[in-house]
Every structure is written in structure tokens, then in C-alpha cells.
Point group: C2
Chain length 215, copies 2
């Protein structure tokens, strides 16, 4: 089983590494990071993190699982034919096509989420609707073989959910125990329904670009 994690300039690191850490522990899986060029791809925080794409898109044509992370750089990929064509072609081979955060906007731009239940970063749900998907408020959404997760850290929950489907509950629980995923956030502000209202409004104002970039 081959798991391909897509990288592109200004992706969000945890979007990719959260599900990677879980899914790479699938028995028999080979996990590869892929990008247009086989080189270190820089993230969204002034490029302070570089993750190596070991394979080009052309070298990974029939993955079993695709994981598409989000990040501010997603907006620059929405009309990149190399990336969207690869998503469409890879999707003809996959058992599972997945995304974290605004990665779902790329799946939607490739036409893969038309009419499907899906999710994205809470600031991008309107944009997702504008691209033909049916956004839900759930953290992990499964519609057929399409698995989309909410913002950034939700990829860990998505990874465990998917690992359970692939390898069974017991394996997923063992990986949860090994990665000690027993979350104890010091605050309860991780969703717009829980965070102080003024913080939600400030981030909405800052994130307005996401809605403006709907095609």
C-alpha cells in the first residue's frame, strides 16, 4: 500500500505531519512525500520549515491513499493544472482520497468533491461550498472514499479514524497509545463555537481573503 502526501509551497506543516505520523504506521504501508519537484518544500511560516519531497508527481501515479494538506499556499495552486491533473489521475487509483484543512479546496477545485459532504478549516467552509461541496460542521467527514478533516490539528483525528478503517480498531488504538494521543489542551478555544467571540471575529476579519478567493 502506497500513501502519497502532497506538498506545495507554503503548506501548513502540521496538516501534513499529523496524519503522516499516524498513517505511516499502517502495516505494510510505504509513505512518500510528493511535489512538483523532488526537493525540500517550504512551509507557510516564512519558510522556516522545509520538508523533503522525495518523489515528483510523475513518479507517483497510482497511490492507494492521497493526503492533501492545507495552508495559505493552497490559494496559489487552485489553477495549477499540474497539481489538479495529478489529483484527478491519482484519484482514479486510490482507495482513499483525503485532505486536511484547506486541502479540501484543492480536492474540490479538481472536481472531486462535487455534491459530497466534506469539511475544511472553519474559515474556509464558505469557500468549500462555493466549489460545489456540502460543508458540514464535523471534524472528520467521510463520504465514500473521500475523507476530509477540519483545520490543521484535525489531521491527527482523521489519521486515526482512517487507520481504524484500514487496519482495525485495535491497531488504531495501539498507534494512539504509542503516540500518547490523550489530548489535554490548556484552553478550550479550539473551535469557533468555543473560543472567545472577539477572537473568532478577529480571525474572521484576517481570513476574509479565503472567501474572496472563491472562483
Amino acid at each position: 500500500m502506497q500513501i502519497a502526501i502532497l506538498l506545495y509551497d507554503r503548506f501548513t506543516a502540521l496538516d501534513a505531519v499529523g496524519p503522516y505520523e499516524i498513517l505511516a504506521r499502517t502495516p505494510g504501508a510505504e509513505t512518500v512525500f510528493v511535489a512538483e519537484r523532488a526537493e525540500a518544500v517550504r512551509n507557510d511560516n516564512r519558510g522556516s520549515l522545509g520538508l523533503v519531497a522525495d518523489r515528483t508527481l510523475g513518479e507517483v501515479r497510482r497511490p492507494d491513499i492521497v493526503v492533501v494538506p492545507g495552508g495559505p499556499g493552497q490559494t496559489g495552486q487552485m489553477d495549477n493544472p499540474a497539481l489538479l491533473d495529478w489529483l484527478r489521475e491519482a484519484d482514479t487509483a486510490t482507495t482513499w482520497t483525503t485532505s486536511v484543512c484547506t486541502g479540501s479546496l484543492l480536492l474540490a477545485a479538481a472536481g472531486l468533491l462535487d455534491g459530497r459532504r466534506a469539511t475544511s478549516h472553519w474559515l474556509a467552509l464558505d469557500a468549500l461550498r462555493g466549489l460545489g461541496a456540502r460543508p458540514t460542521g464535523e471534524r472528520v467527514v467521510i463520504d465514500g472514499k473521500y475523507v476530509t478533516a477540519a483545520g490543521v490539528s484535525s489531521g491527527i483525528d482523521m489519521g486515526l479514524t482512517l487507520l481504524g478503517r484500514i487496519a482495525g480498531d485495535e491497531r488504531a488504538q495501539a498507534v494512539q497509545l504509542l503516540t500518547e494521543y490523550d489530548p489535554q489542551p490548556p484552553y478550550d478555544a479550539g473551535s469557533p463555537g468555543k473560543a472567545p467571540a472577539h477572537l473568532v471575529e478577529e480571525l474572521r476579519a484576517a481570513g476574509r481573503f479565503l472567501r474572496a478567493e472563491r472562483p
Copy 2:
């Protein structure tokens, strides 16, 4: 403010990237990945992930915050003078010296946790005690300027806790909201007290090497 995240061969990716994703959002912070050589450092899962160390240890001598991830490769570093000397020297400059997972065993090997309350991966708590620290069962432990976190995913909770101390509760809550850290694991098996007992025993048996490698 400079945040230095240490890398070494066969580190665990999420140990480093979890706190990175949070702490790199500290206002005014410069975050750098450091290692003995400035090159891509490969992780513990057959090296399928490569994270670029942009700076050598010698180039980062007075960081404000140090983050030491864990991973199976930690055992090979326990008697590496280049790494341990760097930890000791960097620690003379830091405001916070931190670790995730078995990264605390490296801090302890450098003599930085003598008599201090600290934690590590649940499979490594005995080893931590053997190195002179006082292990606790908490997920994030603060003793003076030393902040240690439990296994792998706990670095996210550590990052938010530390960000709150540095930049205030409101900033930390805004980052929690932006990274949508509203965990909803599909299982409740993330600690040895919660997971099925036979899984705990299986991992203990597999992890026996951790105890055997106490000096």
C-alpha cells in the same frame, strides 16, 4: 526571540512539528531547525520523512528556547558529546529548555534535569528516573524553566502551555483556534491507564529496550 528545534537521525516527526506549529506563531519569534550538520535529517519511520536542518549546532549558540524531540534515534545520541555539549551550552542562554517524548532523556543525559520534576513517553519514565529526574504522570511538566512533555502528540499541548506563558492566554487561545485544536480522537486509548490492558502489555514488551538502555 530565537526558538531552536533540535533534529537528529531517527527523531519522531510529530515530536518536533507539533510544538513547532504552535511556537512558531509566537510574536516576534524566529524558529530554526538545528542539527550537527545543516542537511535534511531523516525520521524514525524508515527515513520516509526528511526535515531540513537549516543551521548547524555551532551556528545557534544562544537560543531563547530549545525544543528537543524524542524518537528511537535518541538512544544513539545519549553519549554524543557534540549534542550534549550543545544542550548544556544553549541551556545557559535559554529562557525555556523543553522536550517532547524521549527528548527528556537527552536533557537528563546532559545533566539538566537532576532532581527536577519531568516527564517523557510513558514507556520511558523508568529510564528518566534512572537518569536523575523525578518523573510525574502529568502530560506537561514545568519545573523552573524546564518544560517536558509526554509522548509524541503531547508536544502540541506543551506548545500551547508555553505560548500562554510567553505571549499570554489570549494569544495562545487564538493559535488554538487558528490550528483548530479541538481534539476528537475516535478512540480513548491514548494513555496506558485508558488503553486496553493487552495493548499496554504488548507495547511494554516491545519497548523493553528503553529500560535496558539506562546507563
